[in-house]
Symmetry: C2
Subunit: 190 residues, 2 copies
């Protein structure tokens, strides 16, 4: 058991109805009716054991912050709310993969692109607390994973336009030039 590991399992069952799967960049994911978010499935286990085989399953692990400063963390913690709010009946699952060029950059170069020039942290902060999020890392799981990150977002239906603006701002940034695959999966709670 690893309480930081989550599986996103698409198939015939699950509490989230998949409304749309959009390939933003690169290959898409298969259409599927439902999604389940399963915590604490260790690498050796099959997610969703005993059910119908999933149409696809992605895994990611929450981890320490890689770019956020002390002051930014204070601002985020003060404004953010958790997942699972009753009125957050909309969700988005956005897996991305970044290029080898991104991963070859040094820490200060990545921070400069991500925040100084792309305002990734500030943009996210602007949409708190409406848009709640949890970031999962996939690149260092030790298994061949199709994406580097999976972000799970939750929000109320009235905040769908705000969420689309948030994505538009990020996708227009210099940082996003390093994104070589991105899929945008939208969901509604059953």
């Amino acid at each position: 058991m690893n309480s930081r590991l989550f599986s996103f399992v698409a198939g015939e069952t699950g509490p989230w109805h998949i409304e749309r799967v959009l390939a933003v960049k690169g290959e898409s994911l298969a259409a599927a009716p439902c999604l389940d978010v399963i915590p604490s499935v260790t690498s050796g286990e099959e997610p969703g054991r005993g059910r119908l085989p999933p149409m696809w399953a992605l895994r990611g692990i929450t981890s320490n912050e890689r770019y956020v400063t002390h002051e930014e963390k204070r601002s985020l913690v003060a404004k953010q709310q958790g997942l699972g709010r009753p009125d957050s009946t909309c969700a988005a699952l956005i897996p991305i993969r970044k290029s080898e060029a991104w991963w070859a950059l040094s820490q200060d170069e990545r921070r400069k692109i991500l925040e100084d020039r792309s305002a990734h942290i500030r943009i996210g902060l602007n949409y708190l607390p409406a848009i709640a999020r949890r970031l999962h890392h996939c690149r260092d799981l030790g298994t061949p994973e199709p994406f580097d990150f999976i972000t799970w977002f939750e929000f109320a239906p009235a905040d769908i336009p705000a969420f689309d603006r948030l994505l538009g701002e990020l996708r227009a940034s210099e940082e996003w030039q390093y994104v070589e695959r991105e899929v945008d999966v939208r969901l509604v709670r059953k």
Copy 2:
């Protein structure tokens, strides 16, 4: 297959003879005669399949740099040499685990402790090219791992005193106050 993943397998076979296992902090690892370093064993596979069961096996994955700046990277790349040098007949395997307090710090706080106040990168640079090293991450593999990092060092017998000084400088640093488990395994090539 993941070319960044390595297994360190202790048992009856392997090209490295284990000379000493020392618990620096916290629980030790079992004594064993030999060690093998096996690349590209995916999470689902058993390391060293078909051999005698290992006495212990640790896994880690190389990854992007987490703290090094562009200038530091240039200095490191200019001075460092790879593993596998014919005269590097000595090795050390040093797995460590850091505390939850370390992982809860923001990126800038960790950088300040690691380099501004503990000179971790500068200390390592001082011992290049004599002490070659490869850092492996374990914390985000998605399986319960006993350590957060495994560092593998290679050097010539004449550089054993220098290597001991390097470890002494790191262990005396503020950063090492966050280390809650450390084992120091010394090896000689057969």
